[in-house]
């Protein structure tokens, strides 16, 4: 079984400047990781239009709709950090974690993400991370 967060899916200096670009960026990483089919990216945009996936503490978690579950090959997440926070419907998103959760996996993924992003010192570590390994050391616990 593939790991949930791979080093290739971690980008420390995201290039997107808008929310839609950031969703594309996260989506591309999910596609590149072989976790989802192309159609999932469109579903991520669609999901974003209903309710914002900005979670607070600088974290946004774009993901697809329920209907797009069939486009998921395996559970995976991506991590993109932005030096200039993205304007996420008026909120500053510094970390964008794209999520593809097969079956009920997303619940476990979300819970472990929540445990990391509720701690200010963990967020500070993510902000200071200088390599993909640093990020993996913090988010590597995200398992299914």
């Amino acid at each position: 079984m593939a790991e949930v967060l791979s080093a290739e899916a971690i980008v420390l200096g995201g290039s997107a400047t808008t929310r839609d670009e950031a969703i594309d960026e996260a989506g591309r990483l999910l596609v590149a990781a072989g976790a989802v089919e192309e159609s999932y990216v469109a579903a991520m945009h669609e999901r974003e239009t209903s309710v914002s996936t900005f979670m607070g503490n600088g974290l946004a978690i774009p993901h697809g709709t329920n209907e797009a579950k069939s486009a998921i090959r395996h559970t995976a997440i991506t991590f993109v950090r932005y030096a200039d926070p993205i304007d996420w419907k008026g909120q500053p998103a510094e970390f964008v974690v794209g999520i593809a959760g097969a079956g009920d996996d997303h619940l476990t993924v979300l819970q472990s993400l929540a445990m990391v992003f509720m701690e200010d010192d963990q967020i500070a570590r993510l902000r200071a991370a200088s390599s993909a390994d640093d990020v993996l050391a913090i988010l590597g616990d995200v398992q299914v």
Partner: protein, 504 residues
């Protein structure tokens, strides 16, 4: 104001309130059907509006279409008035009750309705009480039976097993109800009717206000009205075409007089908020709004009893009756359901005027005699007390004092709700759960759900601020907290504080 924790609630009252909420949850969703039935009755029966009140004014022939639908004249025993109260209303209540105990599964409602059919057919009185018993019993027992083979059915056979188990069990319950429950329920309903008849024959019906008025402000209003008075009144209607019982609790007269007295002779916040409360109470029919004014000065219950006594007395004198429950207890609902004769209208009108006048005069005397300066936050304190009494916070009452959520009751269950119940609420719930457990409250449950699946049995509901209004509609009795940050909202710490406080 959260510090004004009221005296510990007694277990018995909480159970009665819970039971009352349960009963009213069965009845309230179906009030529309009660109103339809009331209107059809008012229009089409022999003494109805279309026949100009019948008797001397009657102008329609016994063969008219009005007689046809009303079930009188040539069509006696037919029509739709009788079948509606005999079948439709009890079956709706049974369905709602069965569905409610089976976690909102329609299946529970279906079995409850089948089961209730047995007691409907087995008795000759409207089986509201039977529906309130057999409906939930049907739903609950089906749930228990389903649990036996849950997950053990061979794939592809689920539909077959589910349909036949519901059909067989429902059929058994209906048979059991028909033979075993019917005689018992028949006796209970007839016993209740005898009590009402005894009370009205001996002209002591007004004295029921000595029980009803104090019980109301202790939030037993729904238990009394929907649990006891609605079934008794409906049976009474079957015999007499109308019932005074519907007016015992639902007449807004006494509360209206009290609030007017506050508007004129009150002080501070209670004076300034009374006119708004009057409108909500009198026209909106939400009686809960006046309870804090009584709880603030408990001796005012004397004014409420005076108002209640007077309005019932006048209704007795004029032999007034409603055709269907006035729910909510608004002046509009009362008039719409009033039996259509001049005497009834005059009686109801006088009962409202005089009942309000009585409670107004008594309350005014007490308020004026009370020289003590009222502290600004007395009403806020009373509202907190009331929420403690009720066991849940009342959004109507908090709107009254413009305050934030006050939790003086124990918070045991928290639900995090979002649109789909998948993502953000799951995250928020994990964060909050951890915080609450770290604070040493492992007994508090935190779950996440989609708003569509919310049911009103959580103590506290957390939602994104954009969704709070929708959640409030679904769970009016819970405390609502809005957040805009799921990870580190300061509101989480407030919730933990609230739990700490509610544990004293």
């Amino acid at each position: 104001m959260a510090s004004t924790t009221a005296a510990p609630r007694t277990g018995a009252r909480v159970s009665v309130q819970k039971f009352g909420t349960f009963l009213s949850n069965m009845v309230m969703p179906n009030i529309g059907a009660f109103i339809a039935w009331g209107l059809i009755t008012a229009l089409f029966i022999e003494n109805g509006w279309l026949n100009l009140g019948g008797e001397d004014h009657a102008w329609l022939s016994p063969g008219s279409w009005v007689a046809h639908i009303g079930g009188w004249g040539d069509y006696a025993g037919g029509g739709i008035v009788g079948p509606m109260i005999t079948y439709l209303l009890p079956l709706l209540i049974a369905y709602t009750g069965g569905r409610m105990v089976y976690d909102n599964e329609p299946r529970g409602g279906v079995v409850g309705a089948i089961a209730t059919m047995g007691v409907i057919a087995g008795t000759d009185v409207p089986m509201f009480m039977g529906a309130m018993i057999m409906g939930p019993v049907g739903g609950w027992s089906m749930k228990k039976i389903d649990a036996i083979w849950d997950g053990k059915i061979r794939p592809g056979f689920e539909m077959l097993v589910n349909n036949f188990s519901a059909g067989i069990w429902g059929g058994l319950l209906a048979t059991f109800g028909f033979f075993a429950m019917s005689p018992v329920l028949d006796q209970i309903v007839k016993g209740g009717q005898k009590i009402i008849e005894f009370l009205s024959d001996h002209n002591i019906l007004p004295f029921t206000s000595f029980i009803i008025e104090p019980a109301k402000v202790l939030f037993l209003n729904n238990a009394i009205n929907h649990g006891i008075l609605t079934p008794l009144g409906s049976a009474d209607v079957q015999d007499h075409g109308k019932s005074i019982v519907f007016l015992l609790e639902a007449n807004p007269a006494a509360g209206a007089g009290l609030l007017l007295a506050f508007a004129v002779f009150g002080k501070g916040m209670s004076k300034s908020s009374a006119p708004g409360a009057f409108i909500i109470h009198f026209f909106g029919g939400i009686h809960e709004i006046y309870f804090p004014y009584v709880l603030m000065k408990p001796k005012l219950i004397v004014a409420m009893i005076a108002g209640g006594f007077t309005q019932i007395l006048i209704n007795v004198i004029f032999d007034v009756g409603l055709r269907a429950p006035a729910a909510p207890g608004s002046v509009f609902a009362v008039y719409i359901q009033t039996n259509s004769s001049v005497k009834d209208y005059v009686g109801v009108t006088l009962s409202i005027v005089c009942g309000a006048a009585a409670s107004f005069v008594v309350a005014a005397m007490m308020l004026r005699a009370d020289k003590s300066e009222e502290a600004e936050d007395d009403l806020a304190g009373a509202t907190a007390k009331m929420e403690a009494l009720k066991g849940k916070s009342s959004s109507v009452a908090s709107a009254l004092v413009g305050g934030t959520a006050v939790a003086t009751q124990q918070i045991r269950s928290i639900v995090f709700a979002c649109d789909a119940g998948m993502g953000s609420s799951a995250m928020g719930a994990s964060v909050l759960r951890k915080k609450i457990q770290d604070a040493g409250h492992p007994e508090v449950t935190v779950v996440n759900k989609s708003i569509a699946n919310l049911v009103d049995d959580y103590d506290l509901v957390v939602t994104h601020q954009d969704l709070t209004d929708r959640a409030r509609e679904k769970t009016p009795s819970a405390i609502h907290v809005s957040v805009d940050n799921f990870m580190g909202s300061p509101r989480y710490d407030e919730i933990v504080d609230m739990i700490d406080e509610s544990r004293g």
